[in-house]
Subunit: 376 residues, 2 copies
């Protein structure tokens, strides 16, 4: 057998991608380390040679991704080597959100720390998509200015919307905003110099929750606002579905001949457990949520359900009603428990998830960032 | 950068696993090839050197996995090189099924051809688990004898059951068989010399359908017998869930205050679209199936639904009623179509999927088979 480089995906890896792979390997080793590892510790954790690690670390420092810090104190003798940490003044992610009754922006640095956060409450429904996105531009520019004042460079932006998003950032439908076929990037010219992605708010909130690391490798995140969406995380990764439109739990039928929904069907969960329905009759809302969530668990065999958005502050009020239906309707309820818990990030989950998605993109492909940083 | 071997999973690959990886790479290259590739063609398809390919091919031929055959005719000059094909007389998979009103066994060779098939119709409900499995042993021994008479060697067995299976082949619950905590391998001593796995019938049927290759990389397979189960295939792989208990669509609620179910809940799909309900009122059954399948599509954004088991022969009768509910209740129905179609393997899907799972195991890890074949 010769020494060819082979990937687990059954295809040879090209030499040109090995550096990119190893840059990501080194950066993620630092990111996932509880302490501040030295070059030698990285070499030992990755199996790469000391010389290879040093060259990669130098590139990552030059590109503003890593920084040398005082090492973790140790008990052994000898002068300790310099430790490495994610740079707090390198690339940052801009997280944005438009929901039915607020807009929000936050800046998250490479280490995951929230550096700036702006939330403005206002009903978005009277606004045209263009007007709403013009306001969002202003918010984004304020956040960007604050980031730059800290010495941060935005690596990209991600926007959370309560709707179905197609590739390229086209919002096909956002029923509760009244949007249809809105080309978001075209309406955000102020951000044209940044890579921008648009995603469903529940998907991004689920990613935020995954990053916040309390929900286990598989869970469903349910976001209860005026509409209801879900983000499904399977084995540590967001499950998006064939066209990116998974998680529409708000339109799961709970009463086949029940209340008419804006979508045209009858008896959708959204009509029984949306924000107004929860305020009007929390017991009925909890029962309806339990019926729909039992379907999710029966189909996907998930062990954890996270209630986010407007459900998080009402968790204690809703819990018992939901759990009663889960006990009754989940086939395996007697064999294994289902854990129901409130979201740890509360109402910020979607914009935090958006900013984290930008940061994760840099961590997963630092070579692309280094190339872009050189070009700027 | 040195020439280290690196996997895409961000960890170095050990040299000892490289041979196993490359054996699988060569075997799968032959399996996925439309013609009978030569050693040179395999070298060019895999990027492995000619010498490496030849050594691996020799090992696979010696282990009964590949065979040399006449090459695909070609138009160029020169004597064509010998072609390679999967051996039709090497390892084979034994697929078994126990369902409520039949038992079945089949033998599938490495190339996927069904070599033997036995189905015996009899109500299993009056039998104890031990008695049912004793009958299955007899069936399995007949299939094994027929395989051995053909020169085949069974590489393993897989059994499909309509229930929830825990690791080690323990059937926790098979409600419609009346089984609870049945240790299947312990009750099949006649097969003790074979690796045996036990799995949910809808899961195995979905795998069979995936192998039969008409359903696209993501789909839900719904098996309609006396009970109803589903197998969920995402991106070409069976999605099993946290404990292997995914796909319990039979217990998705369609009428919250409806008919009582054996599981203790009310209004489960099984009560409206099980075999007897379909016979009694196919329109109500189709509507109930449509409600539950709309939930699946809203949650998972799948583009293909496959109706199998007892639904396949009744597909034309059920289709319109199901599609009417999908059009009404799937949020994205107006944006993208959902394809509903009958299973291509019909009633054999689960046992075919079981045998295919054994064969796939050999194709994915031929090194393990070679080690075992040497030991026999």
């Amino acid at each position: 057998m010769n020494g060819r480089i082979i990937s687990a995906s059954r295809a040879p890896v090209r030499q040109s991608s090995v550096r990119a792979h190893n840059l990501a390997l080194v950066l993620q080793t630092v990111a996932n380390s509880a302490n501040r590892p030295s070059r030698a510790a990285i070499s030992s954790a990755t199996g790469l040679t000391r010389a290879t690690v040093s060259a990669l670390v130098d590139d990552l420092i030059a590109g503003g991704l890593l920084t040398e810090v005082d090492p973790t104190p140790r008990t052994g003798a000898g002068r300790p080597a310099a430790g490495l940490a994610l740079a707090p003044d390198g690339p940052a992610g801009l997280g944005l959100e438009i929901n039915v009754d607020y807009q929000a922006a936050c800046v998250v640095d490479l280490s995951g720390a929230v550096r700036h956060r702006i939330v403005e409450h206002a009903d978005q429904r009277p606004l045209s998509p263009g007007a709403a996105l013009a306001e969002l531009s202003t918010l984004a520019e304020r956040a960007r200015a604050a980031a730059e004042a800290d010495g941060l460079v935005l690596a990209g932006a991600a926007l959370a919307v309560p709707g179905l998003v197609a590739p390229g950032g086209l919002v096909r439908v956002a029923p509760n905003l009244g949007w249809q076929d809105v080309d978001v990037p075209a309406l955000l010219p102020a951000l044209a110099d940044l890579p921008i992605t648009v995603d469903n708010e529940a998907n991004l909130a689920a990613l935020g929750e995954l990053r916040a690391d309390g929900a286990g490798p598989s869970f469903v995140y349910v976001s209860g606002e005026i509409g209801i969406g879900a983000g499904i995380v399977l084995d540590g990764a967001l499950y998006r579905g064939g066209r990116g439109w998974s998680g529409e739990i708000g339109h799961v039928t709970v009463h086949p001949d029940g209340r008419p929904c804006r979508c045209g069907a009858n008896g959708c969960l959204e009509q029984y457990a949306g924000q107004e329905a929860v305020a009007a009759d929390p017991d009925l809302a909890a029962a309806a949520l339990g019926i729909a969530l039992a379907a999710v668990v029966n189909l996907l065999d998930l062990e954890v359900i996270v209630l986010g958005g407007g459900y998080a502050p009402k968790f204690d009020r809703l819990r018992e009603g939901i759990e009663a239906e889960l006990r009754r309707r989940v086939l395996t309820a007697g064999l294994a428990p289902v854990t129901l818990r409130p979201a740890t990030l509360g109402a910020d989950a979607a914009m935090r998830g958006a900013a984290d998605a930008v940061i994760r993109g840099v961590q997963e492909d630092p070579a692309a960032w280094l190339t872009r940083a050189q070009a700027v």
